[in-house]
Each structure stands twice: as C-alpha cells, then as structure tokens.
C-alpha cells in the first residue's frame, strides 16, 4: 500500500534520513523505534508529505505521491496522523474538531458528519465531551479525540507519532487501548513509540531507525528476543 524508495531528507546540511526503503502492505501494523533524534518523526512526516523529501520516492496505492504535480491534500485526506502533542483545534469544540475536515472537504454533509462523529465518540467513551473545548480535556482524552478526528476522514492508513509520550502515566493505557482496537479492526498503521510492550504485542513488524536508516527490521518476537544489530542491542538493553 505504501512504498518508500531510497528516501532522503536533509535539513540544511544535516542529513536526517539517509536512504530508507520499505514497503507497507494493507493491514500491516508497523512499529518504529529508535533513539531520540534518529529521524523517526521525520520519516513518518515524509510519508504524508508534512516534510518534503530531499530525494527518493514514496508511492501510495501505486501512485507516486512525491511527484511534483500530485495533489497533496487529496493524498493526506486518506492518511490519518496523530501527533505527540494532540494538536486539537483550540478554537473549536470537540464536535467541530471532528467534523471540520469531512464537512469542509465536502466528503460528508454536516448531518452525516455529526452522526458519524457521535458514533466515533461513543467508541472512545467520550460522547459527553462533544460540546467541550480541548482545554477542558485531560491529555488522554485529547489524544483519544485526536484519533477520532483522524478516523472521521475514513483514512486507509493511520500514522502515530509517539501518541503516548506526552501523557501522564495513568493515561497511557486508555490511549493504547484505542489504538489496539483500531489495529484489531484491520486498520493499516505505522506507530512510532517507546512503548516496547505495546510494539511487541500489536505490531507485526518492528523497525529500528537509527542514524537516518532502518538498521533492523523483523517480526516482534525475533526483533526483541534475537536482535542482530549492535546499536539495537545497546538500545534495547537501555529501554527494556
């Protein structure tokens, strides 16, 4: 579903991604781990073109989305993204946060969008917050809403950039639970995370991104029990 060919990204003279190639099939759950500053976020943000790759190609359902004449807005409307800091729209109620994009992009009527939003809110047990503003929610609630906001667009893939890193420990569980259910529903997802237990449990592939490349990729069992790369061994010994 997503094909990445020799993806490179520089910020000025800094080479952040130094040639990443990887294929993600429909329904896969890819966990991305690696040290801070290794380029995990940049990798994820290149996939939905929030960052413009310096070179290389990205394909989405066979279409090269890195080609200059592609409509990035159309591509992004098929990819959900969840940020570390939630990024809920502060000026809108929860309901409007969820319905804004589908209604503005004329994918749903206002009524359809609202109905859809309510059933999504029910899924994360937050129906009572429909008329609240983001500032009235806890971190865990915000992140669950952020996930729901992405889902309202009926995306074909969900990208998560450390969705629980900014949360108080007691709220991590409720967010991971939502992501877990999403994974079980068959959604294709890519998740950058420091939750090793979660990666092991939910992912079907784990990638170790370090120094701008994929140093190791494997199924979770072999990845965690039998790491080959020295840097990965060192990394795992620190975080496990």
């Amino acid at each position: 579903m997503i094909g990445i060919r020799d993806l490179k990204k520089n910020f000025g003279d800094n080479e952040i991604l130094r040639g990443i190639s990887y294929d993600i099939e429909k329904g896969e759950k890819i966990a991305v781990i690696g040290p801070s500053g290794s380029g995990k976020s940049t990798f994820l943000r290149c996939i939905n073109l929030l960052e413009t790759p310096t070179s290389g190609q990205i394909f989405f359902k066979g279409e090269e989305i890195t080609s200059p004449d592609v409509d990035v807005n159309r591509i992004r409307s098929h990819m959900g993204m969840v940020f570390q800091h939630f990024n809920l729209f502060n000026n809108l109620t929860i309901m409007d946060n969820i319905t804004l994009a589908p209604v503005t992009l004329k994918l749903q009527t206002a009524e359809e969008a609202k109905e859809n939003a309510l059933s999504l809110l029910e899924r994360v047990n937050l129906t009572d917050k429909a008329d609240a503003y983001p500032s009235q929610l806890s971190g865990g609630q915000k992140q669950r809403i952020a996930i729901v906001r992405s889902l309202a667009m009926n995306p074909e893939v969900m990208l998560f950039d450390e969705p629980t890193s900014a949360l108080d420990p007691e709220m991590v569980g409720e967010v991971l639970e939502v992501i877990r259910e999403l994974a079980e529903s068959g959604m294709t997802l890519v998740i950058v995370t420091h939750e090793m237990g979660f990666a092991r449990e939910v992912a079907n592939k784990v990638l170790f991104v370090d120094e701008g490349i994929i140093k190791e990729e494997n199924d979770p069992l072999s990845f965690f029990n039998d790491p080959k790369d020295d840097r990965l061994k060192e990394f795992l010994s620190k975080v496990l």
């Binding site: 939905n48 073109l49 929030l50 413009t52 200059p68 990035v72 807005n73 159309r74 591509i75 992004r76 409307s77 098929h78 990819m79 959900g80 993204m81 940020f83 800091h85 939630f86 990024n87 809920l88 729209f89 502060n90 000026n91 809108l92 804004l100 994009a101 503005t104 992009l105 503003y133 500032s135 009235q136 952020a146 906001r149 992405s150 667009m153």
Partner: protein, 239 residues
C-alpha cells in the same frame, strides 16, 4: 467661580458652541471607524501574505505561485517600511496636497490616509498573532487534507485574532487619537472643534479641557467594551 460659569457659558452654551465639539466628535468617529475597517482589511491581507511567505518558502509552492508570493511579499515589505517609517501627519499632507488634490471630501482623504496608515500596524499585529499560534495547529489541519487557506481561515486566523485582540484595541485607541491631526487639512474633527471655540472666545483652558475629556471618555468606553468581548472569547480557554 462666577468667572468659571461665565467662561463655560461663553465657550459651550453661547451661540450653541458645543456643537463644534459634537460635530467634531462625529467626524472623528466616522474617520476612525472607516479607517479601522480599511486598516483591518489591509492588515489582515498583508499580515497573511507575510506569514504565508515565511511559512511556505521552500515548501510545496512551485513556479508561478511562488514567484507571485515573492513579489507580493516584496510589495508588502515596501508598504510597511514606508508607512511605518514616516509620520502620519506627513502622509496626510502628501495625500491631501499631492495624491488626492482633486478630492472633494476631506473626510475621505482622512479615512484613506488613516486606513492605509493603520493597515501597516495591524499587519504586524496580525502577523505576530499568527506566529504565536502553535505550528501543530497548522500541521493538524494539513494532515487532515485541508488546504493552507482552509486551515488558515478556519483554525489559525480565529485563534490569531483572539491573541491579537488587546494589541488591536490598542491600535484602535491610537488611531482615534491620531485623527486629531486632521485639523492640518482643515477637517473639523474633535480637536479642531475645540480649537475653533478657543479662537472665538479666546479662552484656551475650557475648550481644550472639554476636548480632552471627550477623548478620554471615548477611549475609556472602547476599553470597557472590549474587555467584555475578551472575557466572552476566553470561554474556550476554560480549564
């Protein structure tokens, strides 16, 4: 004391001289209101162009659109430099004696001058407001497939406006007071109204004091009204 009432009578009551103050106030308010509308319109457009240029340069824009944005940005830059680098009075005189010599209405000259002048300050206020919004807001909008313009109008600008409101009110107050220089082109606004009375009765204290009190009252009213608006806007910030 009797000389005070006498002077008060001469300055304001006799021959209905208070009308100079009232009519002057009307002109001042009209010039301020229309200049504000023009100023905000110009300011929002210029502020957005400046931000769009800073945020988008080197990103997805290519070819003709990028060139257009660069040219617009350069024009905005010149506009800001000229307007903020010269006194409003000089701008007013140039407008009246050079650019709009054939204009019939002094009010229109004043409205245009102050609108264009205020636009430069509003632009910088709006730009500051936009830049104060966390860039995650724009990224979230874009990641959902919304365009730059859609995200700007629905997410960023409403928040930027709210953040800029105190500075905008400040600009409005400055604008109101600055229209007092319109007397230089013979426009009978509030300050000049008081001055006309002074010229007739040869009493400087009371007419000018009266003018000052009226300005103070209006400024106070504006501050009061907007503190109300701000409190209402703060409802989405409740914790």
């Amino acid at each position: 004391m009797s000389s005070f009432t006498e002077k008060f009578y001469q300055d304001f009551i006799e021959d209905d001289r208070w009308k100079f103050i009232l009519n002057g106030l009307k002109i001042t308010l009209i010039v301020t209101a229309f200049a504000l509308i023009i100023g905000v319109a110009i300011g929002v457009v210029v502020g957005i162009i400046r931000c769009a240029h800073d945020q988008q340069s080197g990103k997805e824009l290519t070819g003709i659109k990028k060139t257009a944005l660069n040219i617009l940005n350069a024009l905005c830059h010149i506009y800001l430099t000229v307007i903020r680098g010269t006194p409003a009075l000089v701008q007013l005189l140039i407008m009246y004696f050079v650019i709009l010599v054939s204009a019939k209405s002094k009010v229109m000259v004043a409205v245009l001058t102050f609108g264009i002048n205020s636009g430069a300050y509003v632009a910088e206020i709006i730009r500051g407001g936009i830049m104060s919004i966390d860039r995650g807001q724009m990224e979230a909008g874009r990641s959902l497939g919304l365009s730059y313009v859609q995200t700007m109008t629905k997410i960023i600008l409403p928040q930027a406006f709210k953040a800029s409101l105190p500075a905008l009110v400040n600009e409005l107050i400055t604008l109101l007071k600055e229209t007092s220089i319109c007397g230089y082109i013979g426009l009978n606004e509030l300050t000049r109204g008081g001055d006309i009375i002074r010229g007739t009765t040869f009493d400087a204290l009371l007419p000018l004091l009266g003018v000052a009190v009226v300005y103070l009252a209006i400024v106070h009213l504006i501050s009061y009204m907007f503190s109300f608006v701000e409190r209402r806007l703060r409802k989405s910030d409740r914790h």
